[in-house]
Symmetry: C2
Subunit: 668 residues, 2 copies
């Protein structure tokens, strides 16, 4: 019981820190009324979207609550609700702060980078510490009450469902607004980014927050919980007589919280004035501190093979760092892939798109090799020390995700400072202030490349752990690829990520189409809008993005929930195992490909905007804008939702495993 | 022995028919000297490319001959050479006729469609009957001499390697020329397609032949042989005491040849004047006749369960037809996917590309469901009749491919009549003649959609059969997805098709870049070229395409050969099994996606050219041209090479299985 209390304490400290940082951020001044107004419009838009998203989700959650209640039991149903609720609260709180911090960062930027940076970072940390704190408290309380990891699985399922819809919905919202604003505002009317005369500019800024803050927070909340639950289930199944194997991931998370808190002290721009380096120093410091704390945990928790669980933990942690720091090789503006793609812009958009597409495909290689090495290393390090290999792999996933507090803080920093720039422009601040905001923003992009690699690596190990947890739960002893049922499952599962990507991207294009029409209508029908004498009707654009995102969520959401259960009920637990394996493989491939191709086109455009191949306004630049627009839904809508999709499907399969095992039609 | 002689006789009849049709086509007149000249330039260019490709291949084949000789034995080495040689001869012969038939079709088109159509179709049939005849004779002779299907496997390996390089090389060649010709000629100088002033026009027409005739012939030769060999190996391993199980696929092929010959009698435009319908009637007639002949074969050949092999054969055949006739749902110009993609062109190229990309991903669903149903049906129909399920699946692949003679004939017809239009334009024939050529060409595109579905479905079943043959050869009894080695293999294998696609597409873009520079140089430096008074230097463009294609083949070729062996030698036969499974899954997904997305963009452009959204010259049309250019290497370079890639890797793994089993480092 003492270890559970330690975990609870760590969670409470985390929430306490988040509350403290929230008060600190809110105490920062902003005396520019135009910036206030701009920021408030974003707050209103974001709150409106989240309110409607959560209303819709409440309906869905109620239906699923009843289904889980009937099929599995009331404990799991309660846990399911708690998971959805905690994820929602963390996302909402994070976004609440983020949409209030943007103008404060911009105001602080007037006095220089050193003042503005902490406002942005600590606002991000509110989200980071809320995520880990709520997750840890939720899981620990459920384990203390019910004593059964299968019940905690319901918590993970709730969080995961929330994440899928928040992430995909946010992704559709943000790109609808972004593409709409760009296609009409920038291309047709030659307005600058964030020009307040553009009717979609508020929606675009709201989008940054609902996609990159609320969506991303829910996403990592989901991975974090899922990785811990996978270890719990495997620990419970494999080592039933020693609760240390179930408690270990909770204590590892507690150590991660402590490490993140200490690591944050290293996030200082100091003399260097380089915010990107400050963020990376914080991440590396957190990693080092966590490695030491974890050593204490493995010896204290009371497992039989302390080093057998320590090494897989460290393998996961190191793999996360390595994947994070190498994954930007294909998207970095100074590297060959981006520059040769930018060079292709001289022949027009077609070859630029082909090149970005191709390099995006090549870019999956290092990350997948990294994931595979981490998995094999964790497996053998565990087996060599007398532990089950599957337990080792699942521990590696927790090791990778333990420093989530720090990772989310750096990641949420990005959209906050991005918005700050918009505020500064809306507030007509001077060029020096905008330049400071630009530098803060650039650091956000560097941090994002690293956290993105981290997130995908962690998700991959987590779903592999969930895959083992599924096999353990349904009692599979083997999953033989020579059996046609497994092959059928493998094929069907492997179709899901491409299909899901296609559905969300078609949603964006349908919605963006409506947005384009509305913006054009406003420019045509509202006199004085282009002269800046009459403000545009931003609310209508916010409405289009909001309604579209919610309506378009239905299809992908149903796909993720219904297909795994249908495959299981028709073809049985073995075919469903093959289905999960297939979805994991193509899910990771498409997630990496889409994220990297999108990032690459984005940076090819920036490379030209920095003056290459004729610079802004040239034909090459126009071609690069096309590439960037294609890449936007790749990197911000479809790509980031895929790891959540495969987590959700693994959880659905595991939660409904008893039902499937009993009622399967054919059981191939 | 009598059955082997029947198979040989059928092969000889097939070759005899090809020779007869060749003489008939060559006897057709062409009295337009300009068309002659144009056609001869294509002949010279195509022959030059094939000569250099075969020279390069001869070197590679010699190296592999020595490796196979040392590692496996002289019998397999001889079979390997024979396979490469037969494939090369069939491709060369087919292209020899095709490049001579084009002008004759154009000349016949002066007197109407009814005269011109048979010239095009019978010229295609020369290729179709050569492919099946040479394949059947080669396999039968090797089986008669050595009596061991493992030796015939070498024949398949040789054919497959040839196909991979012919297909990928041809794909790079044809798109280099096509994109180069379009980007400069059409976009910058506003020339029409096939305008003889364009320096790349000859290279473009050569490309149609080396890609769609020689490459496609080698590709289907490869699938055809591989499917037969897979059945032989499984039949030999599972039912060693009854040679009927080994002979069955050869006799099925013989029946397919007979059915194709009779089916060709149904290919008549008659009163309908609809060449597309004539081709489809021929395919359906061949299918029906084959189904009856196959019933005779299963009773005559002497297996214990005639219906147990008959039903899987028919399941494969029907699946081929169904996949073929439904696969154009996403690429058909009258359907929603193409029209809504074309509609997106109104907002510029970006959303058009996103929509085509997304529909391309959705389009994989019906085909994969079809493949999966065919596989499961064949499996259970075999098992229910007391046969091994794996044998049933492999028989289904042969059933699907048995009517290859007819399929290849219809398919080769396409590029021949496409070239005929170029000839008619170069020969300044009247509008009515060009209109007839256009209608012949449209029929070729309809036939192509069906044969493409067929080819991918057949390739999928074939590699699944090869996968079983691999497992049988290395003696795997299970391939457990819960084993980390299999998961590692699965991930590594699944990376190969995307990586291979990326490499070939980057090759196209590098090469097209050079082509663009050369065409621009000619327009700049050769006075009188635009006025048509001085001919362009076509040879230089042919050289760029040829050299580029050969140079760029090295990387993808090495990838396909070396990686499977390396994975096997380092991680062992089980991981290699997972590797093959992973490559099959993503190989089929990417092949379907790329073929369909490319076809969709192509038709979206045609839809606009037919007058929608402002018609030719509008902004929407320009956007659609960008989409088409992106889609070109998708559908003609990367996509069609992928089924060959997975066949080659499966064969490499099976051929080198003894080596791998003995020397594997870790054997995960």
């Amino acid at each position: 019981m003492v270890w559970e209390l330690v975990a609870l304490l760590a969670g409470a400290i985390s929430i306490g820190l988040a509350a403290y940082l929230y008060r600190w951020v809110m105490a920062q001044p902003n005396d520019n009324p135009q910036m206030k107004e701009f920021s408030e419009a974003i707050q209103v838009g974001a709150a409106a979207y989240l309110r409607r998203l959560y209303q819709a989700l409440a309906g869905l959650a109620a239906v699923l609550f009843i289904i889980v209640l009937i099929v599995i039991g009331w404990q799991s149903a309660v846990a399911f609700l708690a998971g959805a609720l905690c994820s929602g609260i963390a996302g909402y709180f994070g976004m609440y702060v983020a949409t209030r911090a943007n103008a404060r960062v911009a105001w602080a930027a007037r006095t220089g980078l050193e003042k503005a940076f902490p406002v942005g970072f600590f606002a991000g940390a509110v989200m980071g510490m809320s995520v880990v704190g709520l997750a840890l408290i939720g899981m620990t309380v459920l384990l203390m009450i019910f004593g059964d990891p299968e019940v905690v699985l319901g918590f993970s399922f709730g969080a995961s469902l929330m994440a899928l819809l928040a992430k995909a919905g946010g992704g559709i919202y943000t790109k609808t607004a972004d593409i709409g604003a760009d296609l009409v505002g920038k291309v047709e009317f030659d307005l600058a980014e964030d020009d307040p005369r553009n009717p979609a500019v508020i929606a675009d800024n709201v989008g940054d927050n609902v996609g990159d803050v609320a969506g991303m927070g829910a996403d990592i909340f989901d991975s974090y919980v899922a990785s811990v639950v996978a270890v719990m289930i495997l620990g419970y199944a494999l080592y039933r007589d020693n609760p240390a194997y179930v408690l270990y991931p909770l204590l590892l998370s507690a150590a991660g919280i402590l490490a993140s808190m200490i690591g944050m002290l290293f996030v200082r721009t100091g003399g260097s004035n380089d915010p990107g380096r400050a963020l990376n120093t914080g991440t590396l410091a957190t990693t080092g501190i966590f490695a030491i704390l974890a050593l204490g945990v493995v010896y204290a928790v009371g497992v039989d093979q302390p080093m057998g669980i320590y090494w897989p933990t460290i393998a996961g942690l190191l793999a996360g760092i390595v994947i994070g720091f190498t994954s930007d090789r294909f998207t970095d503006i100074d590297q060959n892939a981006v520059q040769s793609t930018a060079n292709a812009a001289n022949t027009g958009p077609a070859i630029l798109i082909l090149d970005g597409f191709s390099y995006g495909l090549v870019s999956i290689v290092p990350s997948i090799v990294g994931i595979v090495i981490a998995m094999v290393a964790a497996w053998f390090l565990a087996e060599q020390n007398g532990l089950a290999g599957t337990y080792g792999v699942s521990v590696a996933a927790v090791g990778m995700l333990a420093i989530t507090g720090m990772i989310v803080s750096s990641d949420a920093y990005g959209p906050i400072v991005d918005n700050a720039k918009g505020c500064a422009e809306a507030g007509h601040e001077d060029e020096e202030t905008i330049r400071v905001c630009d530098r803060l923003d650039a650091a956000g992009n560097t941090a994002k490349a690293i956290t993105k690699g981290f997130a995908i690596g962690a998700a991959a190990l987590t779903v592999l752990a969930l895959f083992s947890a599924y096999a353990e739960t349904v009692g599979l002893t083997a999953l033989d690829l020579l059996n046609p049922g497994i092959i059928v499952g493998l094929f069907l599962g492997s179709m899901m990520p491409p299909l899901f990507s296609a559905m969300t991207m078609l949603s964006v294009s349908r919605n963006a189409f409506k947005m384009v029409e509305e913006i054009r209508r406003q420019f045509r029908e509202i006199p004085g809008i282009l002269e800046g004498t009459v403000p545009p009707d931003s609310t209508l654009c916010v409405d289009i993005a909001t309604q579209g995102a919610l309506r378009e969520l239905v299809g992908p959401g149903v796909l993720a929930l219904v297909v795994p259960i249908a495959v299981g009920l028709v073809l049985g637990t073995h075919a469903l195992g093959g289905f999960l394996a297939g979805s994991i493989v193509t899910g990771i491939i498409f997630a990496l490909f889409m994220a990297n191709a999108g990032g690459l086109w984005d940076n090819a455009k920036k490379f030209i905007e920095d003056g290459a191949h004729g610079g802004p306004g040239s034909e090459a630049h126009k071609a690069a804008v096309v590439g960037d627009t294609v890449g936007d839904p790749f990197k911000d809508t479809a790509g980031p939702s895929l790891n959540t999709l495969i987590t959700v499907m693994s959880l659905v399969a595991t939660v409904f495993a008893p039902l499937i095992a009993r009622f399967a039609l054919f059981a191939l």
